[in-house]
Symmetry: D3
Subunit: 129 residues, 6 copies
Amino acid sequence: MANETRKALQDKGLSIRRQVLGDKYVDAAIQNTTDFNRPMQELVNEFCWGAVWGRDGLTRKERSMINLAMLTALGRLHEVETHVRGALNNGVTPAQISEVLLQTAIYCGVPAAIDSFRAAGKVLAEHGK
Amino acid sequence: MANETRKALQDKGLSIRRQVLGDKYVDAAIQNTTDFNRPMQELVNEFCWGAVWGRDGLTRKERSMINLAMLTALGRLHEVETHVRGALNNGVTPAQISEVLLQTAIYCGVPAAIDSFRAAGKVLAEHGK
Amino acid sequence: MANETRKALQDKGLSIRRQVLGDKYVDAAIQNTTDFNRPMQELVNEFCWGAVWGRDGLTRKERSMINLAMLTALGRLHEVETHVRGALNNGVTPAQISEVLLQTAIYCGVPAAIDSFRAAGKVLAEHGK
Amino acid sequence: MANETRKALQDKGLSIRRQVLGDKYVDAAIQNTTDFNRPMQELVNEFCWGAVWGRDGLTRKERSMINLAMLTALGRLHEVETHVRGALNNGVTPAQISEVLLQTAIYCGVPAAIDSFRAAGKVLAEHGK
Amino acid sequence: MANETRKALQDKGLSIRRQVLGDKYVDAAIQNTTDFNRPMQELVNEFCWGAVWGRDGLTRKERSMINLAMLTALGRLHEVETHVRGALNNGVTPAQISEVLLQTAIYCGVPAAIDSFRAAGKVLAEHGK
Amino acid sequence: MANETRKALQDKGLSIRRQVLGDKYVDAAIQNTTDFNRPMQELVNEFCWGAVWGRDGLTRKERSMINLAMLTALGRLHEVETHVRGALNNGVTPAQISEVLLQTAIYCGVPAAIDSFRAAGKVLAEHGK
């Protein structure tokens, strides 16, 4: 791992990102790449998807569940939507997503959970669930 | 469930709280109960431990993992320590706790993860792990 | 109170919620209930509106004022709008809402207050105030 | 008001600050003034205590209650302690402080409320309440 | 400075605000002034733009850079857009804005940075950059 | 850059970290490395110090200033202390640190600034400034 190049790590990250978020989403992100945001795209592939999602130690389903919880706490609703899609791809059921968000109501407060239920409900409706 | 009384729900919650956090911790909390904080103690038993932790749909191990992620995002370090203890009781291994916190570095930022690694490391040291 | 059933507490909460937020708002929320968000709807009625708003000890006007302050701090603008409506129903005047939000500028920062002034101004305009 | 000088506003603010937080607290803050933090001390007197606390439109009791709610949401526990003292001076009863903090459990989450109950309980104990 | 009147400080602040954010933006804000938000408009001119932006000690370029970082941390995206415009007026280059936001990914987390890159990219596109 | 190995990036990061935070601080961090926190230590060296602090585009002084602003917004006081030390090493003067923190009072709220002034004042006193 220590001898892996940054390019190899980015490629590995991009591949995991495609598996979790889907080609359609990732292709759109890539098409929106500009000189301005390119360093961020590369950092996300390398750091987020390669160096962390690429690790063993938790299942992807577990990673999706903790992401939904964190993103709700942080109030980052755009990413909540993205990671509801990822959670479904990783095998988290709608009932489990509901259960995670219900737990956020206790720890992050009711308004945080309401916002995420609304965002997640929209994504589930698009997926016909 | 709808016909359960509030008292029954509080009792059920208190029992789950004891299983997750341990008698020693819960006895200390009960001993610190005053007129001032009694309504909060009751609310915690009833809603947090009874109405949410008492639900099926996620394993306790999963609930512990999403709690560590949320509490890190929220920066509530006292509760991070409490729920590291709970996570160990629920069968989350130190390696899995490390993995959850590493993922918080990406989503909540490095300072959030550093704070939780410090808090969790202290608890693990106390448990001889 | 300890012998109150969960169903009775939910019914009481729903009734207070209607008084504070208005039938139109609550009917819309109920109509949007799905299997996915039903547990959250029930938790909100039981926990938020029944167990806390149902308590004596603060006036509803005071509860509305502290809600506007908290929701501004949390940056939950959808709920700021909802609770500006609730505050008007509970007798908080537009001048008092302005005063609460001005105080948030000092404690939560100017951007938080600007966001809530914008959200509140929109609701006041809808109410012709 | 528009013709008030900044010095006059600072003096007015300092006077209100003494009334709310007590001479002992304010004298300690003044004694800790250095070249490094002097601009902050002046800003606090002028804007926080002069320009906002000095306004009519809310009672001091109401300002104290919304402060406790906001500071809990923000997780600023040092200031929670300070403003529990201020709230007592402004006539908020311990039972009302408990009621405000209980409401924060719903909107800011249980860990936020637990932290503030702990901080407030400490101050109440010091005051023999 | 101590003998400056509040009116003079507001006027000075309004003038700096025009230089940083542009007449078009400030004229729109003034045109939206109502009885409800007037105290906030005045506080912003006096406190934010007069008493702080009006100080020596940091360059405007430095103030713009730290604002972008703080606003990203706080998740206040409306103000991120406003202060990307201000940053460009103050001579921060798009490459430097990108660099500041990249650093927020590490300290505030990836979702915070993604949100701000999206908001900033929109403003840069409007400015043809 | 793309062909740089992860090990090389970690080494580069560790070297920058030593320059900014000082050998004493970094040696202590290394000495506290355990199996539990080792992945975090490596992530911090590789991504925070190597991949971001290692970039051109902002001066180290600018990076220190935006860090102080962000860490104040996030309420991560342990890291505020660390990065006040780093800021001094990077040539930010105490007067400039004061100026940055004064600006956080406007955007993050007065309690955030007060907390950081206290933390920074402690570090400055240790450095005899």
